[in-house]
């Protein structure tokens, strides 16, 4: 699946999208929030979680894994 964003904490900094090794996460140019553009390419590595400086990102497992 990919990133799940807590909108109340997200500053739109883009770190998660910058570092996601699968290129899953992109930034929405209108909302300035990250979203899962290629959710079926997620390796559930959790890089988005550790790269987020605001504690706004959690990894959501892909459907077929959980």
């Amino acid at each position: 699946m990919g990133i799940r964003v807590d909108k109340s904490k997200c500053t739109g900094c883009g770190r998660c999208a910058e570092e996601c090794p699968g290129d899953v996460i992109h930034m929405n140019p209108d909302t300035h929030l990250p979203f899962n553009k290629y959710k079926n390419d997620c390796w559930y590595c959790g890089v988005c979680e550790v790269e987020c400086p605001c504690g706004a990102a959690t990894m959501e497992f892909p459907c077929l894994i959980v």
């Binding site: 090794p21 390796w43 550790v50």
Partner: protein
């Protein structure tokens, strides 16, 4: 989408892949020659790309002088590979790995836990000898910072697609920015491929394309690039099938087993005692696979890890290792499933076969400088056939390749770029962008990968392998119908092409090795015995440069060289 051609780049040393081997190569090249212009490209990012994106809990193959000897290490790898790995390469890993450990420790890249008496925590994981040191740390961001500070140029989200050659030597590579769709040539005097293993081989049992044990962002393009450049790949017929946590498809084996965990069947029997009474769970992986498949076939599945007999402190160390360093999201997975690893059985699945030089013998044929059979083209890490290389081969041969390239740099003249080859590659990548309608790259990938387990799992047979060859032909035809809508999909198109190349290598080499070896690593039902004529012989997969077709042939494995002064 628009595939825009950008002006050429140039670097003395181009490193392709910034996972584990790549950053070590970059650092060592700069240390050897600070004036060297080093460029590292990664289709993800150097900070987080590759197998150890979140760290790793063990340095699986380090020879610490007081704990084990180089001879034991060479012996273990010879045993695991049944003699089909160059022992000189194993010796080099054994001799150079401890200095790397010390350097990583002193640079603050990783830490290595010690016992109260100050000795490194080292355990046995190989059939013989204790080479596995516990390791901690978020390695990659520290490495990335070090190479930036050393003046290495970094290009992220940049995928290499072909090596450009001139008279049998590498002179450059084609690059694609997977976010912008820009296409570029980089000229280089030397190139090191550090693109990892073929992480996207057989479709996992979950059916999820990216639910693989090995890093799925390594899709074998490195193997494919070496092949098209005229290099040789070996042991591609070897099936790597490791026990995987069911559904998560993640690691556990080395951590569970080295701490005393058992493999049990559904009757609770520690069944490895029947198949490998001495080595038990530490038996070479093909023997273990054969045992597990036999248990399942005879109705005693599923197979589980059983850690229930281990002390609480041991379970704590296991949890720290896997949950904090190796695959931290496994913790969330166990929690969601309600599995407590110290109290519950842990169910296993047998996905694969996988194809990885880190967990097996497959990959590019390289010499003691990590040079492939294409001049000035090096390969280090999971892409190379250095024999169960793990992080040790990535770091040791990343270093050796870089130091060799740095040393030779002044003597290498710039090559000239063949514009016809560049144009051909541009057209190959342009074609799927021009279609009005067509197959999705993901559909195509599914279609290819779903045949791997049924056709390549041991016991293999001539008929099933030949049937796979027929399907590969249709895959090649259908690739012309794949349409991409953006640069991310174009990356996938190139990946699927590489998956087909590596599949063809696996099938053709499996047909050529008319014997059985490595347990279920390569078990031919029509040739069930080991044939001594194949002892000490690789099967090579290479491109016949005249016909453009894949060819396979035997090649002798080098003998162990006597060392100077011995």
């Amino acid at each position: 989408m628009n595939l825009e051609r950008k002006p050429d780049l140039q670097a003395d040393l181009l490193i392709i892949g910034g996972g584990t081997a790549g950053p070590m190569a970059a650092l060592k090249a700069k240390r050897k020659n600070p004036a060297l212009d080093v460029l590292i490209v990664d289709k993800a990012t150097v900070r987080r790309g590759g197998s150890i994106c979140r760290g790793m809990d063990a340095f699986n193959n380090v020879t610490i002088p007081s704990k084990a000897t180089a001879a034991e290490y060479v012996d273990s790898i010879q045993l695991m590979s049944d003699g089909i790995i160059d022992p000189n390469l194993s010796r080099i890993i054994a001799e150079k790995s401890f200095a790397i450990l010390q350097e990583l420790e002193s640079l603050g890249v990783a830490t290595f836990p010690r016992y109260a008496n100050g000795e490194y925590m080292v355990q046995q994981f190989h059939p013989r000898g204790a080479f596995l040191a516990e390791m901690r740390g978020d390695i990659k961001p520290v490495m990335e910072k070090l190479i930036r500070e050393a003046g290495v140029r970094i290009l992220n989200r940049t995928m290499a697609s072909r090596i450009l050659t001139e008279n049998g030597r590498a002179v450059g590579a084609t690059l694609l920015n997977i976010r912008t769709g820009e296409f570029q040539v980089c000229r280089a005097k030397s190139i090191i491929l550090c693109t990892g293993g073929q992480g996207r081989f057989a479709l996992p049992d979950t059916g999820y394309l990216f639910g693989t044990f090995d890093c799925p962002y390594n899709a074998g393009e490195g193997h494919s690039m070496i092949y098209h450049a005229g290099g040789e790949l070996v042991n591609m017929e070897y099936n790597d099938v490791s026990p995987m946590l069911k559904d998560y498809e993640g690691p556990g084996h080395s951590t569970f087993i080295r701490h005393g965990g058992h493999l049990v069947n559904s009757l609770g029997e520690r069944f490895m005692a029947k198949y490998a009474p001495e080595m038990l769970e530490r038996a070479p992986s093909g023997i273990r696979e054969q045992a597990m498949r036999t248990e399942v076939r005879e109705g005693r599945g599923p197979i589980y890890y059983d850690l229930r007999h281990l002390a609480k402190e041991t379970i704590q160390i296991i949890k720290e290792g896997i949950f904090a360093a190796e695959r931290p999201t496994e913790k969330q997975f166990f929690e969601m499933r309600g599995i407590d690893i110290g109290n519950d059985l842990i169910e296993i699945t047998l996905s694969g076969p996988n194809m990885c030089g880190g967990h097996g013998p497959t990959g590019a044929l390289v010499d003691e400088n990590a040079e492939t059979t294409v001049k000035n083209l090096f390969a280090a890490g999971d892409i190379a056939s250095t024999g169960w290389g793990f992080v040790g081969a990535a770091w040791v041969f990343g270093m050796i390749a870089a130091e060799t390239a740095a040393e030779l740099n002044a003597k290498i003249a710039w090559g000239s770029i063949d514009d016809t080859a560049v144009q051909a590659e541009y057209q190959r990548l342009l074609a799927p962008t021009l279609l009005e309608d067509g197959f999705d790259p993901a559909e195509m990938e599914y279609k290819v990968r779903r045949i791997i387990k049924p056709h390549l799992t041991s016991p293999k047979s001539q008929a099933r392998l030949e049937s796979a060859l027929g399907q590969i032909e249709t895959f090649r035809r259908d690739m012309a119908k794949v349409k991409v809508t953006d640069s991310h999909e174009l990356m996938k198109f190139a990946e699927v092409d590489a998956i087909i190349d590596t599949l063809e290598m696996a099938v053709r080499t499996s047909l050529t090795r008319k014997e059985s070896r490595w347990g279920y690593g390569h078990y031919r039902i029509d040739y069930p015995q080991k044939d001594p004529a194949w002892d000490k012989h690789y099967v090579v997969a290479a491109k016949n440069q005249r016909s453009g077709c894949m060819t396979t042939y035997p090649k002798a494995v080098p003998e162990m060289r006597m060392q100077e002064g011995v």
